[in-house]
């Protein structure tokens, strides 16, 4: 008899919870993947494709699915890798050797004497930072350029060049003092 009571009780409870879960999963359904949004928010949004994915969001999706590692973003450098490791609870991974240095901020500029106005770079720019029209000279809006360099390969006359962003007094950073590990031990 008592076993029957137990079975009935558990069945009732599980039915109630089942209904509740079913209801909430419909009622509070979230469109898209919030984890992807969170990862995307940490990426530098250069849309450069150096991670081998076609943009920052696809890379975020690839990280979420476990397909890509967290150390594939050269423009983000170590800071982005650490932030991702913090967010996802993954052990930090060393950056690929070629990207181990601190990423240097760059923008591109168009040699306007050479530009033929083919609009190919405009089509390649992921953030609409190039201004121009067919057979008209093009120019880069420097403030909007993310330095992804995607406009360089399509240019048929090689008139787009990279320049590093000069540090200014208000954006200058103090360096980390030489580590104590290198000091003689007491």
């Amino acid at each position: 008899m008592s076993i029957l009571v137990a079975i009935i009780t558990l069945t009732v409870i599980s039915t109630i919870f089942g209904v509740l879960l079913g209801y909430t999963s419909v009622k509070f359904h979230v469109e898209g993947d919030p984890i992807v949004d969170k990862i995307d928010a940490l990426l530098p949004q250069t849309q450069c494709g150096q991670c081998t994915y076609p943009g920052c969001r696809p890379y975020a999706e690839a990280i979420t699915s476990g397909e890509a590692g967290i150390n594939q973003c050269p423009p983000g450098g170590e800071a982005t890798m650490l932030a991702l490791s913090d967010l996802l609870g993954i052990e930090p991974v060393a950056l690929d050797e070629e990207h181990a240095d601190e990423p240097q901020k760059t923008v591109v500029y168009i040699d306007e004497q050479i530009c033929i106005g083919c609009t190919l770079c405009i089509q390649a720019c992921p953030v609409d930072a190039i201004l121009g029209a067919a057979k008209q000279m093009h120019t880069i809006i420097e403030n909007e350029c993310t330095g992804c360099d995607l406009c360089i390969p399509p240019c048929p006359v090689d008139c787009i060049h990279i320049k590093t962003v000069k540090p200014e007094q208000d954006t200058w950073r103090w360096s980390l003092p030489a580590s104590t590990e290198t000091a003689p031990k007491a």
Binding site: P44, Q45, V127, P167, Q169, R173, T180, A183
Partner: protein, 532 residues
């Protein structure tokens, strides 16, 4: 406010340091000789840089504004003497980075001819907002070192009610004596400036705080107050302890109140101004003169004649050293500011800017002792005037834990250097905090930039999708139209053939009939011929 006269409180920590001020206070302030060339950085203050008002070749008069700005937090720069603008370009300026910044170079014509000045002899006849506007136009910034535009600071907003104005004449950092000398020699101007600021912010009280190691300054100011029989201005002599000159520390000592961590003194009814700023306000309002000069202490064991010099903004430091007898042979290090909070300069070919209070020439030859590992002695926490945990901050900064370090209130650190001073392991702690602060600011800038890029990328993506859809829709419509046309045509053809087949057939039939008839006729005629 009711405060029993002379009751003072303590802030946490602090250090007693050798003041080393006497070497530069032996002689009165001298006026620097007129330099031939002045280098004026466009940005000498916290906030937005102004727009240039002059171009190369322009003649300028002493006191003429050479930049202006429509931004709220900004201050214009004025020509310190009359002459010609000979160059506008990037030059090195005193900044820890050693980077160049946009400067206007003026060659003096030796006339030192003033622009027409508009003095306001009776400031009380003008409204506070008019006076604030005058302060703004005079380009006045906080002369204690932070260089925050004064016109903004004396406008605490409609909600804040300023009860007490505190004039900071503490000057707690060793070696520096420019405020001390200013109070001794410009006491009258100082009191006038205090009254003006007091009127602008409608403060009921004004306290002038001076450390007890400056008896001459205290005496000079007390005399003026007595002469003028001012009852709302009071001189408070406070014990010498570094860093009492810090805004929050001084407020704690004078009022026992604490400024909220992310707040301003105006939140608790207080406003703190440096003595130099008060004198500059007096000059700007009563004389109509913009901020074009300041008093700089040239001191240290590496210079021949330590002294205070009143110098035009933009004068090169090398000139000041020359006028102070030049370097000692063993001079080794040039510092802007004091030994605790100053920063090292790489060269003396740098202009004096509005925030330059002291040029310290050191002669220590000894190498800095090697840094040892932190032993967690917590001596730093004992002396920290902001009640932080310097060793925790140090660990977090060195392991780049920038989120955590902000939870430990890194941004309350005033970089006074007490922690590094007492550290038995000689760890350059302040440099770690400066590193963390600038790194966090940089990350914030990057975040804003990447968010902006994301918005633009998403917008572009949406636009491309929309264009694609529109094109597909157009194509579909065209196809549909074509198909409809085709269908209509074939249908028409079908109908045509159905209706046109009969006449054709009949025509053929008729033709065939005609041929038949002809054939028959021919046959008949043939037969007739044969019969004949």
């Amino acid at each position: 406010m009711t405060r029993s006269s002379q009751q003072l409180w303590h802030f946490h920590g602090g250090l007693k340091l050798d003041s080393n001020k006497a070497m530069s206070t032996r002689t009165p302030i001298i006026k620097a000789s007129l330099p031939e060339r002045l280098v004026l950085p466009v940005q000498q203050h916290i906030g937005e840089a102004g727009q240039l008002l002059v171009k190369v070749g322009d003649k300028v008069l002493k006191g003429q504004a050479v930049t202006e700005s429509s931004e709220y937090i900004s201050a214009p720069v004025h020509a310190p003497t009359s002459g010609t603008v000979v160059e506008i370009g990037e030059f090195p300026t005193p900044h820890p980075s050693g980077l160049n910044t946009l400067c206007i170079v003026i060659e003096s014509d030796g006339e030192d001819e003033w622009i027409e000045l508009k003095p306001t002899l009776y400031p009380n006849t003008k409204s506070p907002s008019e006076l604030r506007q005058l302060i703004r136009q005079a380009g006045i910034v906080g002369l204690g070192g932070a260089a925050f535009p004064t016109s903004v600071k004396v406008n605490p907003g409609p909600k804040a009610h300023i009860e007490t104005l505190i004039i900071n004449g503490v000057e707690c950092e060793p070696y520096i004596s420019c405020d001390d000398m200013l109070m001794r020699e410009y006491a009258e101007e100082l009191i006038s400036g205090c009254s003006i600021i007091q009127y602008i912010v409608s403060a009921t009280h004004c306290l002038i705080a001076i450390e007890d190691n400056k008896p001459e300054a205290i005496q000079a100011i007390k005399t003026v107050i007595k002469e003028k029989a001012l009852h709302t201005i009071e001189v408070v002599c406070i014990p010498t302890l570094y860093p009492t000159g810090g805004e929050k520390q001084l407020i704690k000592v004078l009022t026992h109140k604490e400024v909220p961590s992310d707040g301003f003194p105006s939140d608790i009814g207080l406003l703190v101004q440096n003595v130099g700023t008060a004198v500059a306000v007096h000059k700007a309002i009563v004389l109509g003169e913009p901020l074009i000069s300041r008093i700089v202490t040239i001191t240290g064991n590496g210079v021949q004649q330590p002294q205070n010099i009143e110098v035009l903004i933009g004068t090169l430091i090398s000139e000041l050293i020359k006028q102070s007898g030049g370097y000692h042979e063993d001079a080794s290090k040039l510092i802007m500011g004091g030994p605790m909070m100053g920063f090292t300069l790489q060269t003396d070919h740098l202009p004096v800017i509005k925030g330059s209070n002291c040029i310290l020439v050191e002669n220590t030859q000894a190498e800095a002792p090697a840094t040892m590992p932190c032993i967690r002695c917590s001596a730093c926490a004992t002396v920290c005037p902001a009640q932080l945990l310097p060793q925790q901050l140090y660990w977090m900064a060195s392991s780049k834990k920038f989120d955590l370090i902000q939870d430990y209130h890194l941004f309350d650190c005033i970089e006074c250097g007490c922690c590094a001073q007492v550290c038995p392991s000689q760890i350059p702690l302040v440099q770690y905090y400066r590193f963390a602060k600038t790194e966090i600011w940089n990350q914030e800038r990057d975040k804003i930039k990447s968010d902006h890029a994301r918005v633009r990328h998403d917008f572009r993506q949406a636009r491309l999708d929309k264009e694609k859809k529109e094109r597909a829709e157009k194509l579909r419509k065209k196809k549909e139209l074509l198909e409809k046309k085709k269908m209509a045509e074939t249908a028409a053809k079908k109908e045509d053939t159905e209706t046109e087949i009969d006449p054709k057939k009949s025509a053929i039939e008729a033709a065939m009939k005609r041929v038949q008839k002809k054939k028959e006729a021919k046959l008949a005629s043939d037969e007739n011929v044969n019969e004949k």
